[in-house]
């Protein structure tokens, strides 16, 4: 190849690269505007002492970060968030897997049940929170009434420090198990039928097929679901806020509810609240990276 030809080919390569950059530019700009700049801005805010209206800002360095780890309410809300996650996630995943296995075939009944289970997913969290508040009301709730008919007295699930968090877990699962089920149903339907036929020839029954064909087949979707559910649980806000507002006695105050309360109900704690959300961001990022690593290893296996 002549020197001129080489020069020409480099310039062609450069032109191609330029075109490629142009193609990804819109996505890049969106990432910069909606992710990178807010990320940097929120770090800047976390170094300030300022109100929710961002006025009267005063630079305090890393003081907000050092304060976090001596704040007993922060530590309490982290404990509650972890407790919520540890109870909600296993239940959610088990229910999702079992129901998806039962509803995988495209029969009319299965389609009907899938639609019914999906209804709470499209309902707004406010509607769900207020509705369950009425259903579980200690005085006028229909659920309370039924329990009273069964002989239970003084049923007060939402205003009891021992039960309120589990009510939140129940409502959160009720609202979201439909989407888990649908994702896993799609994954099951993508497993080649030949694998089931081969396993049947080898003498595997339904249960063995579930454990040795279905479960390995849905693992990529399962890990994706698990990861998004864990992130969602760590960011739990809407259902708690509409159902219990974090009470009674802060027993349902998750980390994001505490961050919100701190930011919007105090005179000048926007910076502190932002510092807490930065800590949450780092925590979620670490979990996501670990989950990705496990997911990739499992996929390779």
């Amino acid at each position: 190849m002549s020197a001129t030809g080489k020069k020409k080919s480099i310039s062609l390569e450069q032109r191609r690269q330029r075109t490629a950059y142009l193609y990804i530019a819109p996505a890049g700009i969106l990432l910069i505007v909606f992710c990178l700049i807010p990320l940097l801005a929120s770090f800047y805010i976390s170094t300030q002492k300022m109100g929710v209206d961002l006025s009267k800002a005063k630079f305090v360095g890393l003081d907000n970060y050092t304060k976090i780890f001596t704040d007993r309410r922060f530590l309490q809300s982290v404990t509650i968030t972890l407790k919520y996650t540890l109870v909600e996630i296993p239940l959610q995943m088990v229910i999702g897997v079992v129901l998806s296995a039962l509803l995988a075939k495209n029969t009319p009944w299965n389609k009907l049940f899938r639609s019914i289970y999906f209804l709470p997913v499209i309902a707004s969290a406010v509607t769900v929170g207020v509705t369950w508040q009425l259903v579980l009301h200690s005085n006028i709730g229909i659920f309370t009434y039924w329990l009273k008919l069964l002989g239970f007295s003084d049923v007060n699930l939402l205003n009891n420090t021992g039960t309120a968090l589990y009510v939140v877990v129940f409502v959160a699962i009720w609202k979201t198990f439909g989407i888990s089920t649908i994702i896993l149903v799609s994954a099951i339907q993508n497993i080649p039928e030949s694998l089931y036929e081969a396993s049947a020839i080898d003498g595997a029954g339904k249960i063995n097929q579930f454990f040795y064909v279905t479960l390995p087949g849905i693992m990529p979707s399962f890990w994706f679901l698990l990861m998004t559910r864990i992130i969602g649980s760590l960011q739990m806000f809407d259902i708690v806020y509409t159902l219990t507002r974090g009470g009674p006695s802060r027993t349902t105050t998750t980390l994001v509810v505490y961050i919100y309360d701190t930011a919007f109900n105090s005179l000048d704690k926007m910076g502190y609240a932002t510092a807490m959300s930065e800590v949450l961001f780092v925590f979620i990022m670490i979990i996501t990276v670990i989950m990705y690593a496990i997911m990739n290893k499992t996929s390779d296996d």
């Binding site: 009267k56 200690s138 005085n139 009470g247 105090s266």
Partner: protein, 443 residues
């Protein structure tokens, strides 16, 4: 026939367009004042009717009102961008928080016929911050005692409680009426609403949660405070003995005839009237029962102008405030047959029909206002404690209120049964420390 239909359609189009144009012209000629508030309950309907009346009467101002439960969220997000309402109704406790986005209203005395000396100095002072006037008093929501007359009668309670011991005795007697099918509770304290709880806590004589002044320094006021300990022990015993439900929704239970005595503001009156429950209203008790007028623990809401308003809109809003104080109301309230309410101001009508105290002296001194016994009863002495939670200045208002919500719930749910003064000292150490943190942060 087709021709006639076409003619009729064309005519109706012309008329519709014409009338729309007329409406548009009328709106265009008027200066629009965007007005946001959170009065979404029964009292809000009266406010809406009064604003509509103003819009009909005013030739140059149109008030575009939005009542919303998201008021606070809307305000916080729109004030920094200059897109908030021109006029808002806001608690004076929030002046510190939003001060930089509120307009100085000092020129209202020059722009309208209103005079500063016509407002009660005690309440007016709450509208000032560093000599800047940020609000004009709208209503004073004093907490009061609601009691169920029928339940009192059935339980043989003859005297309306004036002391906290009498409250407990009445609660015990009324609770005895409870059955499995119809649970009845003698007392109706909320565990989760800090205003309602503070209205009784401070009446024990505890003072503010943070006390002191700049000269002598500030101190947290939970520990070594006998009155505070007494208030906490009183509340805990009501819950532990089952006289008070562990419930947030006390209002509905009161309306359903399941509560003997409770504390709340005037906003409850509308729903109790609608429910048909036979209730009475009185001043909240104190320890001795003799110093009830020394406390008017209340939340005062004021008209405030935001920096989102232009000069023209601010001037137009001031005209509306002037009308509110001096115009004529709906003449719809018929509190007694002895007094003629046909010509009261919107401000007076609002106070009389909703049981809100009034800071505008021509209203509070009027024959119509004075004729309402409960308003006369609720009117405090001139030296009464009117602020809640914090030391004057309200710098730590939000944090102190939040701290109070926390410690009341923590105490009621996790405190020892049959508590003593020493239990209170031990339990509240962390909350005392929280308040001390606020002192170092704000003062």
């Amino acid at each position: 026939m087709k021709k006639q239909i076409c003619m009729a359609l064309a005519l109706s189009m012309v008329m519709t367009t014409g009338s729309a144009a007329l409406v548009a012209n009328a709106a265009e000629e008027k200066t629009t004042v965007v007005f946001w508030n959170s009065w979404t309950g029964g009292d809000g309907d009266t406010l809406e009717a009064l604003v509509n009346k103003f819009n009909e009467e005013s030739e140059d101002v149109y008030v575009d009102m939005t009542r919303t439960t998201s008021f606070s969220d809307m305000l916080q997000t729109s004030l920094p961008t200059g897109e908030a309402a021109d006029l808002i109704l806001l608690s004076t406790n929030e002046i510190n928080r939003y001060g930089s986005y509120l307009r100085d209203m000092g020129d209202i005395w020059e722009n309208t016929s209103l005079k500063e000396e016509d407002f009660s100095p005690a309440y007016m002072s709450m509208c000032y911050n560093d000599d800047t006037l940020y609000g004009i008093p709208f209503q004073i929501s004093t907490y009061m005692m609601y009691y169920n007359k029928d339940l009192f009668e059935q339980a043989g309670v003859e005297k309306v409680p004036t002391t906290f011991d009498e409250w407990t005795a009445a609660a015990e007697a009324v609770s005895a009426l409870s059955t499995d099918d119809n649970p009845i509770y003698g007392s109706g304290l909320f565990y989760c609403y800090n205003g309602q709880n503070q209205s009784v806590i401070q009446r024990f004589g505890t003072g503010y949660l943070i006390e002191g002044d700049e000269e002598n320094g500030f101190k947290a006021n939970l520990l070594e405070n006998q009155a505070f300990a007494d208030s906490m022990i009183w509340m805990k015993n009501l819950y532990d003995k089952g006289y008070n439900p562990q419930e947030q929704d006390i209002d509905s239970m009161m309306a359903a005839g399941q509560i003997g005595v409770m504390t709340n503001g005037g906003w409850l009156k509308g729903s109790l009237d609608a429910s048909g429950v036979n209730y009475g209203v009185a001043m909240l008790p104190t320890v001795t029962g003799e110093d009830q007028k020394e406390y008017a623990l209340a939340d005062m809401a004021s008209f405030m102008l935001t920096t989102s308003a232009t000069d023209e809109e601010a001037a137009a809003a001031q005209k509306f405030i002037e009308w509110w104080m001096t115009g004529s109301g709906l003449a719809a309230c018929e509190t007694t047959n002895d007094v003629d309410y046909s010509n009261v101001t919107p401000n007076a009508e609002w106070s009389i029909s909703m049981c809100y105290l009034n800071a505008y002296l021509p209203t509070s001194n009027s024959e119509e206002y004075q004729a309402v016994q409960i308003l006369a009863d609720l009117t405090p002495s001139e030296t009464a404690q009117v602020q809640m939670f914090t030391a004057p200045g309200n710098l730590a208002y939000s944090d102190a209120a939040s701290c109070q919500t926390d410690f009341v719930q923590d105490w009621l749910f996790n405190g020892p049964t049959d508590p003593t003064y020493d239990d209170v000292q031990e339990f509240f150490v962390n909350y005392q420390a929280d308040l001390e943190d606020y002192i170092s942060e704000y003062y």
